[in-house]
């Protein structure tokens, strides 16, 4: 494509005249003056929302509160990382005693050094089988770890039922089923938790 043909196109476009716009300079100036005066007179007038604006504002507030509550729930939810110390004699099953929640958590310092079972667990690496369960539970009890309510239910269910298949289908974990995903998920969780402890 050479420059001549582009120039020719340019010239053809130049030959077209846009449709005129009837605009009177005096009318524009009058409108400008009027607009300025209106601006002065409305400066002290408080803002009044129209019905539509009010509804939009209300809807925005409701959506904001909804999103805020969801975010709060998500942020406040306990995770497997949140391991805290509890009363030594407290059973890990159930969390009906509200005083447990009020107790100031104490972080356990390097439990692996003090508990041979933990050392053994660490030496075995990623243990996800049934055989690892008693060790894990006993370690947790001996060191007085306190799980979140959900984790305590899982540990308790493991103790009483023995089989992970039973736990996964029982009412105990019904509310957690979406998060559990598979029968072995509680074991994975507990192993993850143990590894976190070992890293402390």
């Amino acid at each position: 494509m050479n420059d001549d043909s582009i120039k020719a196109t340019e010239e053809r476009l130049h030959s077209l005249t846009p449709r005129p716009l009837e605009l009177d300079a005096e009318a524009v100036l009058a409108a400008a003056r009027r607009s300025e005066n209106d601006g002065d007179s409305t400066e002290s007038v408080p803002m009044v929302l129209t019905l539509r604006q009010g509804l939009s504002l209300t809807a925005a507030c409701i959506v904001g509160m909804f999103v805020g509550s969801i975010l709060t729930t998500l942020l406040m939810r306990p995770t497997t990382d949140q391991v805290t110390a509890a009363e030594p004699n407290q059973s890990p099953v159930g969390d009906s005693d509200s005083s447990n929640r009020d107790a100031e958590p104490e972080v356990i310092q390097n439990p692996a050094e003090s508990d041979p079972a933990l050392v053994d667990f660490a030496a075995r690496g990623d243990s996800t089988g049934e055989r690892a369960l008693p060790d894990v539970d006993s370690v947790l009890r001996r060191n007085g770890f306190r799980f979140s309510l959900r984790q305590q239910r899982l540990v308790g269910a493991t103790d009483s039922m023995g089989s992970m298949d039973k736990i996964a289908t029982s009412d105990v974990v019904t509310s957690d089923r979406n998060e559990i995903g598979s029968p072995s998920e509680p074991l994975h969780r507990r192993d993850r938790l143990m590894r976190e402890l070992l890293r402390m």
Binding site: M1, T17, L23, A25, S35
Partner: protein, 182 residues
């Protein structure tokens, strides 16, 4: 505030190009242009380049108007799209009228980003650097897009011309064809 002797030349020189420019976004370009001129008249200090200022303001106002229009009804806007004319007929000859609608059609096929550059350059007589600040691109990009748009228009025109020649050969009306189609 300006007086009418300062404002009138600007209106005479730029209003029609500004109208065409605003038309790329909204259905009622006259409103956008008029509001821009009113805003211009209220300025306490004149800008260095009044035309560039007007193009920027018209663009903003036309976009705002377009948003309100799209809320009111996109379909209505599409119907109106076909009715409005961008260019005035130079005379009453049918050929001139065809020319205006032909170029309107070709221009409307360009992407908006290129079309607004062509309009600001050809009818707005803005410099590439002014257009660059108007559309938020570098001057080099604006220059490149302008040339690409003209190339596209030229190719379309060439293609249409070739097809027209073929049709005329096919139907045997060979008067003056040799002059136009060689």
């Amino acid at each position: 505030m300006l007086n009418s002797s300062q404002l009138r030349p600007l209106i005479d020189q730029h209003a029609s190009a500004l109208r065409l420019y605003a038309l790329q976004w909204c259905r009622w370009p006259d409103d956008s242009v008029q509001e821009a001129f009113i805003e211009f008249a209220q300025l306490s200090e004149l800008p260095d380049n009044p035309a560039a200022w007007l193009f920027v303001t018209v663009r903003r106002r036309a976009m705002n108007q377009s948003r309100s229009e799209s809320r009111r009804g996109r379909r209505e806007q599409q119907v109106a799209e076909h009715r409005r004319q961008w260019f005035q007929d130079a005379s009453n000859e049918a050929e001139k009228s065809d020319e205006a609608s032909y170029w309107q059609q070709r221009l409307s096929e360009l992407p908006l980003e290129s079309r607004e550059i062509v309009i600001a350059k050809i009818w707005g007589q803005q410099s590439f650097s002014d257009i660059a600040s108007l559309v938020g691109m570098s001057a080099a990009t604006v220059h490149r897009r302008y040339h690409a748009a003209l190339q596209q228009l030229q190719q379309e025109t060439q293609r249409a011309s070739d097809e027209s020649c073929k049709e005329e050969w096919k139907h045997g009306s060979q008067d003056n064809i040799a002059d136009r189609c060689t």
